[in-house]
Amino acid sequence: MAHIKVVRRSMRPEEWTDLRFGWLKRHIYSSKWEIENLEIRDARQVSEMEFEYYSDSYRPLKKGDMYFTPDGTAFIRADVTLPDELKGKELWFSLKTAAEICVKVNGKYIGGVDPNRERMLLSPYIDENEVLHFDMMGYNRSKPDDERNPESLSVRGCRQIFEGAYITTVNHAVQELVWDFELLLDIAKSDLFNEDYRAFLNRELNNAMNLINFDEDTISGVEEAKKYVDEVIYANDTYKGSGDVALIAHSHLDVAYYWRRIHAVQKNLRTVLIQLRLMDKYPDFKYTHTQPYVYETLERYYPEVFEELKEKVAAGQFEPVGAMYVEPDCNVPSAESLIRQCLYGQKTYERMFGKRVNNAWLPDVFGNSWILPQILKKSGVDYFVSNKMSTWNDTNRFPHNNFKWKGIDGSEVYASVPPTHFITWNMPSQIQENWEAYQDKDQGGQTLNMFGYGDGGSGCTEEMVEMMHRFDKLSVMPKCEHISGAEFLEKNLKDNDNLTVWDGELYLEMHRGTFTTKSDLKKINRRLEYKIRAAEMVSLMRNEDNTERITEAYKKLLINQFHDILPGSHIHPVYKDAMADYREIEAELDKIIGTGKKYFNTLNFTRKSLTFVPNKKGSSVRYGEKGNWLIPDIPSLSSACLRSTAFKGEWITAGERVETPYYSVLFNPDGSIASLYDKELCREWVKGDFNKLKLYTDNPGNYDAWDILPNYKDKQIPYEISEPLHFAGVDGECAEFICTLRTEKSEWQRIIRLFRRSRGIEVENNVNWNEKHVLAKAEFTPDVLTRKVLCDTSAGYTERETHRNTTWQQARFECCHHKWCDMSEFGGGVALINDGKYGIGIDEGAMSLSLLRATIRPDVVSDMGKHSFCYMILPHGGDPISAGINETATEYNVPLVKCDAEWTLPHFEGLFLQAAKKSEDGTMTVIRLSEQKGTRGKIQLDRKVKILNMLEETECETDVIEYKPFEIITVGL
């Protein structure tokens, strides 16, 4: 029998106030005139501005009808002749909906409605003597976890009941009093405020409510109640609050998440539109909006709204923030991608508004690489804002809110990690919570408090602005100032020498699964990052101007680095869109790169690593493609014809132990290695599990695609060895051993390659993956005594501690790395080099490469299906830097390019040639160099070059490039 909790007590006074507050809200509209001739046409959006209509014509839409269809867009229209009784009044358009609707009247966008707001002002935008042509476009893509609005949550879904559309008039006296009560009841219910003041509020709000007569059909006593609130409640200044809070209006807009990128075009339109209308009504209202990419879509598809936006930008009300083209993931993208985010973002803002921004605004990204401060600083960005570390860390409280962030190279930017979430609705309790959580009260100036709904956009509401206008009437509230994002940063952080320095990555102690989820996206993103590099270089060499084509491809890649795309936290159609984009990008780059007879080494150092070169007549097979393993030995930025050498001698014996020129190996049947004796260095490398595939149950809860929990090792999933490791073939360079492992649903083939002329041991994995909530890792416990793992960042390396002494190390059990990681002691170590994996588990003396996950939210079939990927185990003497691990890993990831043109520019050997491109203005060649070893030095050139910032502006000229550890230098030729 169901248990029903029955509360047997009389109503409390504050509950009586609440009840009457509900009654009061029913009187907000003084009149409602229903639009009864609405018509609707259902459609499905198929591209940014194309719709597949389900019918040729519109059908009537009446109150009580179902509207919206799965993945649907609804077009709603009506021609309305205003009745005389409405003329001369201030009119509003009201439509209560759980969907999201943009409203146009007589060709002008007048506003939007969604679960967070239900009306817009009509009068200023119409001629009341004209017929009003209403055109609405609605879509039904609310985010799934709206915290504020349980009413809309209960009716969330693809089919909605139409509740009618009305032209209304508002009883402003009631509305004002409702906002007063909203504000004061929030304080009365919050434990964060003084208990005596809350008792005072509860008593006086009841007294105010007692002045209203609800018993008649028309409400009375509202003015008296309002007067009482003003003269008794607002007038009270006995209770003093403290604090200094900057209120910054913002709406977080996920370019894709529970919706596709094509839908973000309209979500952005609605968001911008709503904010513009608030600016019309409230001249003091300022709003910050990120992502130049979404400004571009507005400019392209809704130019009339974009023109309005530009006017508001010029007036200082609408504030473009965030230098990056989208809000990207800041773990997985390479340094050059992050630079391009800034370059294309800043150029876009400059073109649109004649100015750049000096901040990076990334409220929702899942941690931030240590390479970021330098990239920001050299892209004209002095300030960094991101909320996640303060509000989402699962282990440690991030110790600063306003601080300086020092990057891997020593560059510093000012940083703000606001104490609370980036989505708030500007309630006193939220502001008080922010102030109380703020840790830099003494030296940081104001605390940053963002308000506005977000994720799916929408932003601020009338109510939020009205709340703000009342805060200074309340002595119990912190001092509040509504300012722009840039104003906040410059006022509080600029030249503030008291700020503490955080020197290290901004690791997020959550969402550790996003280094691994949707592994295909990560692998292809890596491949395309290098292919774009090759396309730019080849274009330069051939003196072809492909800037426009490459920029388009780059921007598409950058969009897909958005923090809910590349990390894998999205619905299935978003994955399909990304893969389609990747195919388009790759096809275009292949066209640009073309072909040639010779192989060109795009790296500015000699390729000495054994490399697989595809060849239809080759004697080896890798990724199902024939080719040869050979040492290209092609000098820096040079071309050569390649020919494989046919080594005929015996170089490997496979008995109980496998003997190669480098190793004596004892394999286990599952492909793991029981012993790896190094003949050259005379030492054993294996201490425990080594190249051991492990499958773990991976049940992180609601943040399924995002998280791996610290206890993921609690339950291991067994697998069978359906085909024990066996010798499978050999040519003059490479010997293969194959085994196949099985679970009930999946099959995992491991091809292990040993080489005649390489210390590397490659593992190719061909997986038919059909698991649910399983994390696959390759674990390595080398016989190495060390307390640190070096992890590639794509532009230098970071050291991470392996021990679990403190909660800070404990929390970093899973980290992001790029092409390689390494555990070394003095004299030698073991590196793991990958071709598209980013998650690395760190646990005492072991490291584990995260290979695949199998999550079901948001995408029910995330990562299901076939996967092929390789990694290389590379034991080495010396330290990883002197052993050239970074160079080997780069060769492993950067293929030779068939191109006969010649490189005529300097080689800049000693630094990594990260990019070479035509400048954005077409006047020079831009070379990006990065120091990746942690050393300093100089390069003497035979000519003077320009030293540029990352926005390609000249800073000085020199013929000697002096570089510091991990410095990224941009040169103009």
Partner: protein
């Protein structure tokens, strides 16, 4: 077009667009059994979507079906 392929090729992409998921299980007489996963599995108003599916099949395939909807919620939302 069979009901199975209609569910898989016409309805499935639409439901996926809202973060939902539908799978064909069986069609016996007029009873069409479908599994709903993802966002569909926790919708309080799934019956509205189910009614729409029945209408669509009626309109497009001229077949009358009664959908037997099985919700497969993920364990972390099974409350």
């Amino acid at each position: 077009m069979t009901v199975k392929s209609y569910v898989e090729s016409i309805l499935q992409p639409k439901l996926q667009g809202d973060g939902g998921w539908v799978e064909f299980v069986s069609l016996e007489s007029e009873e069409l059994t479908l599994i709903f996963r993802g966002e569909c599995s926790k919708y309080l108003i799934l019956h509205r979507c189910v009614a729409w599916i029945e209408e669509q099949i009626k309109a497009d395939l001229k077949k009358t079906v009664k959908v037997n909807a099985i919700r497969k919620r993920p364990y972390f939302q099974d409350v």
